[in-house]
Symmetry: C2
């Protein structure tokens, strides 16, 4: 077993909600636990010399193979009842060499982090605890381990709120994309339809897009323009916020 609890902070764990966007659907990266048969968020523990964010990056890499992901903490989940029925313990019981089992039976407080990643860049790989690691669209998610359904719900709410005061999309879209594609991302996160013309006007007013002369071809209609994010302005908008407010 690869965990060495001696080097880990007790009582603290972290869970990552990794959002991707594909086929006009918002997806979350989940792992399927080998023995308990439950789906869960990829998570982990914190080493004695790590910050939460560093630990989350490392854990995400271990669980799913993903690296260079910018993870942002959004909330601590600390309800005393949240881990009473931790099915991960069952997975551990079935493994040989479970001398650390009691460590995992502790009560854990978990820090929730989320990230947005470009779907196509991800090649998820399961680790020793899980037999599958894959994207699930939001409405396909069934009952997850422990309070992970709640964690996903709160992450989505955070994402929706973020949309109102910060640009989003750089990490969720391919390098080049069309306006309708970007609009579908917004519509999916918000869960509602937006007017095509007003969306374009608003997003262009932020000056975070470069219009490319080229067009995408192959569909049965007029070819849409391609856009890319203007990194400089995108960063500025991230820092300054978009508008609204006092």
């Amino acid at each position: 077993m690869s965990f060495k609890p001696d080097n880990l902070l007790e009582h603290i764990s972290l869970d990552c909600v990794i959002f991707g966007f594909h086929a006009n659907q918002l997806k979350v990266l989940l792992v399927h636990m080998k023995y308990s048969g439950k789906w869960a968020l990829p998570g982990g523990f914190i080493q004695k010399n790590e910050s939460i964010e560093t630990a989350a990056s490392r854990a995400l890499k271990e669980r799913t193979g993903l690296s260079d992901i910018f993870l942002k903490q959004f909330r601590v989940f600390s309800d005393p009842g949240r881990s009473i029925l931790n099915p991960a313990v069952k997975d551990l019981e079935e493994q040989e060499g479970n001398e650390h089992l009691n460590w995992f039976k502790q009560r854990f407080i978990s820090v929730g982090l989320y990230a947005l990643v470009e779907f196509s860049k991800v090649d998820p790989k399961p680790d020793i605890f899980s037999d599958v690691c894959e994207w699930k669209s939001l409405d396909e998610i069934g009952e997850l381990m422990m309070d992970h359904n709640l964690i996903v719900k709160k992450a989505l709410k955070t994402l929706q709120a973020q949309l109102s005061y910060q640009p989003i999309g750089f990490n969720l879209m391919p390098a080049q994309f069309t306006m309708p594609e970007l609009q579908k991302l917004y519509e999916t996160i918000l869960g509602k339809k937006l007017d095509r013309r007003n969306f374009q006007r608003k997003i262009l007013s932020y000056k975070i897009l470069n219009k490319l002369g080229e067009r995408k071809e192959g569909q049965a209609n007029k070819a849409p323009f391609l856009y890319e994010f203007n990194l400089g302005n995108y960063q500025k908008a991230l820092e300054n916020g978009l508008s609204g407010g006092w």
Copy 2:
């Protein structure tokens, strides 16, 4: 000594940033550590059957005498270097019966919570670790213990952001107040002047205030109207947000 680490989660602490408003200044509640002579945020630890929020309410009561405060978590502080120089350890060393000293020398990850309270309702009282507990206006705060300056800074930023999408003030103002008083609160939090007429128009548009017929007298000028918060609408606005965005 009143701490019983046996019953506490290891490695996890919490710190409370309590904002108050008085004499046109935004204030923060601080405690002064007996032996190390450092000022610090009132904080505490988490018992095995508590959520973070419950623990924070209890700790705040123990440290300052404050009760019935709604505390909201805003961030986890987990930099590995944050507690290397924890001066609280010095305070503990000077106390008799420090059999738990090593427990406090651990590395801690701290959950930051903040709250807004009505200044006049507070009667701060120091506890066994501190000899003073009092309000400090933001520009009077010197160097605090550990990373507490950073925690205050991030709490203030959270508060400023919250101002843009939620009503604020119910917990910071007395039951009845004038429009200029409320405006000063907003100006203080934001750190900038606002136009008197535009402020009034905007805040009234939220429908969260009741105008009272009475007036306040005694100042050398025209008597301003009194207002109170309309609790029903205030709650609604808290839930739905104020506007702006998609």
